[in-house]
Subunit: 354 residues, 2 copies
DNA sequence: GGCAGCATAGTTAACGTTTTCTACAGGAAG
DNA sequence: CTTCCTGTAGAAAACGTTAACTATGCTGCC
């Protein structure tokens, strides 16, 4: 007892001395992987409590081979989308007895690479990259190289919500059906009778998220024998402000749409604000839909029809697949489904002609 | 090169062999803390690149003494409040060259204690506890003991957004003025002329956050010579559903309040929903305020008057103080200010009698 | 020319675990 | 009464790195 109060960190040796056994025996009592007599076990556990001993995870990892650590690298902790995926990662990691390292890169691709390197130093068993990234060939090649680097040291690169980097790169990929969700929501609006549907925020064709959603939007039109009026497809960024501004512009231009799809829920919230300001009622005068199904969307007025992404399962699956890649060897590329969540912001157009 | 492709994780020894030097020299080149000739350095760095070597952080920590790791333990990753504080923790940790471990306990106090233990195994330099916790003497005593345990191993317990656990417990505390914010918002409503103000969600008197807010609420009344009608102080959890249900109940009971304060913004969003459903206008018929100033509150209709908490600075300060506790020795208890953010959900009562 | 002092580099012993491998009982089987 | 397990325990090596010494040339100075 005196020792515990006096000294620094007690070690296995200290416990062994206090219990009158060898360090080996202490280790075995703690691990429970070797027969130890009941009386010895009792004495050891007593000493552990008395000294307030905890094992040194670093030392254990050094000899044991594995750190039991999963890293996740994310743009920001605060975005609802990222947070939910991160939540899934953390939960699954915890469920698998792993500890979670987290880093943010705030959209800086170079920083992202640095962080991966850092996680390699930390000997993370898996490195989960969350959210979209650059699609330049240079970046992809660097990423593939990193995937190989990680594989060499027994770790695993996991792409979560981001398309694969190449056929030969050893990486686990967990995507969601971005194009399918866009198809579904556009299809739903068309089925309601809408014929002139605007898509706001489809700016960067190189961005994987944007282009997949645009593709689904187009395919839905084609499926109904319609063609997309490119005048109704406008760009912008992923924020609220952008949705607001672009909606104002469309209204001013008298585009004549009966429905608007925001490229994300956040954009859609800006759309709603602009429409409200213009005195238009949703969904009476015009229907609005979003994408992502972030918690905000249920709280908007009216509650937003949107596309649900299985955020949390995305994170969980990422960790599960990566840690059990022997069992799931054939399944290292997973595509999770999306579906439309119908709320109050959509209705048939005023004069239905469908 | 062949070695890098063939083998497992290259070690300092492998690099040393490839560069024709000793392991010590490699270590010195990497650390840059000892003179090494330019030519040697070049050869070593070359070998590092060729072998795609990264240092083993565990082994370094084992001998070097420090893991350069900060742990933060939080209720959930997804709550906006926690996420922002977590963001602050992560940023400051990164700025200080530390790596961040994250765990969630989902409100389970025992799990929280387990996690602290786990972080002690991980040899985290600081263990940051985010958000309110229980205030029972038993829990406080256990917490104090943990603080001492951590101190013995050179780590540090940090309470972030939670009051101190006791004068003798070695812990860093970064609070925000919870009581003051509650006073301010209640005072503001009273000044507008409100006399019957409901407080929704003040359920658990043992919860630190709840009780501080209730105290501020009471003090504001007292400052104006008013007494709180306990019939207007109702319990519930911290979610939207709770705000919704409790508001319904108050309306049904004909409580006659002219303003409602939600214990959090999320609760307040439920309040707004219930009022809207009842056909009451905010702030025309009734005023509503929240607490926390999460991003959602600006997007609600009407935008919510609330109390701003310096979320991110809370997290940053927590890490800063803990890591530099030699410099900030006298300053290990910090109280950050809060202030009311007036938006559109509050106005004088319909028949002002103030 | 001898010697202090500096710039480099290497040797060796830690750090705190786990994992062989070895050891010694006591009991069962022959 | 050996012999051979089986149950329990310890000794020593290993994990990958760093830090405290030690060693070797040099340079420069008396």
């Amino acid at each position: 007892m005196a020792r515990a109060i006096a000294g620094g960190r007690p070690t296995v040796k200290d416990v062994a001395a206090a219990a009158g056994v060898s360090a080996t025996t202490v280790s075995r009592v703690l691990a429970g992987n070797y027969p130890v007599s009941a009386s010895t076990r009792k004495r050891v556990l007593r000493a552990v409590r008395d000294l307030d001993f905890v094992i040194n995870a670093q030392a254990r990892a050094l000899v044991g081979g594995s750190t039991r650590t999963v890293a996740f690298i994310v743009r920001d902790l605060v975005g609802p989308l990222f947070a939910y995926i991160g939540q899934g990662v953390e939960q699954q990691a915890t469920a698998e007895g792993r500890v979670c390292l987290v880093c943010t890169h705030h959209g800086d691709a170079d920083r992202e690479l640095e962080l991966i390197e850092l996680m390699r130093e930390q000997q993370a068993e898996a490195v989960v990259l969350v959210g979209g990234g650059l699609r330049t060939t240079e970046h992809l090649e660097r990423m593939a190289q990193i995937a190989r680097s990680l594989e060499r040291v027994g770790s695993r690169l996991v792409l979560c919500g981001r398309p694969p980097i190449g056929p030969d790169a050893p990486a686990t990929v967990v995507e969601y059906d971005n194009e399918g969700g866009a198809f579904a929501v556009a299809n739903y609006l068309i089925s309601l009778g809408h014929r002139r549907i605007a898509l706001i925020g489809a700016a960067e064709p190189e961005h994987t998220t944007t282009s997949a959603r645009y593709d689904g939007f187009t395919r839905a039109h084609a499926a109904h024998g319609l063609t997309v009026d490119t005048g109704l497809v406008v760009g912008g960024t992923f924020d609220r402000e952008s949705g607001y501004r672009q909606t104002k512009a469309l209204l001013a231009g008298d585009a004549g749409m009966t429905a608007i799809i925001g490229i994300t829920d956040v954009v859609a919230s800006g759309v709603l604000a602009a429409l409200r300001e213009a005195g238009l009622r949703v969904p009476g005068d015009i229907s609005v839909a979003g994408y992502d199904d972030i918690p905000l969307s249920a709280d908007l007025t009216p509650a937003l029809t949107t596309v649900h992404i299985p955020h949390e399962e995305l994170g969980r699956a990422a960790v599960r697949l990566a840690l059990h890649r022997d069992e799931y060897a054939l399944d290292q590329h997973l595509m999770l489904g999306t579906h439309v969540v119908i709320r109050e912001s959509t209705a048939p157009p005023r004069e239905s002609n469908g």
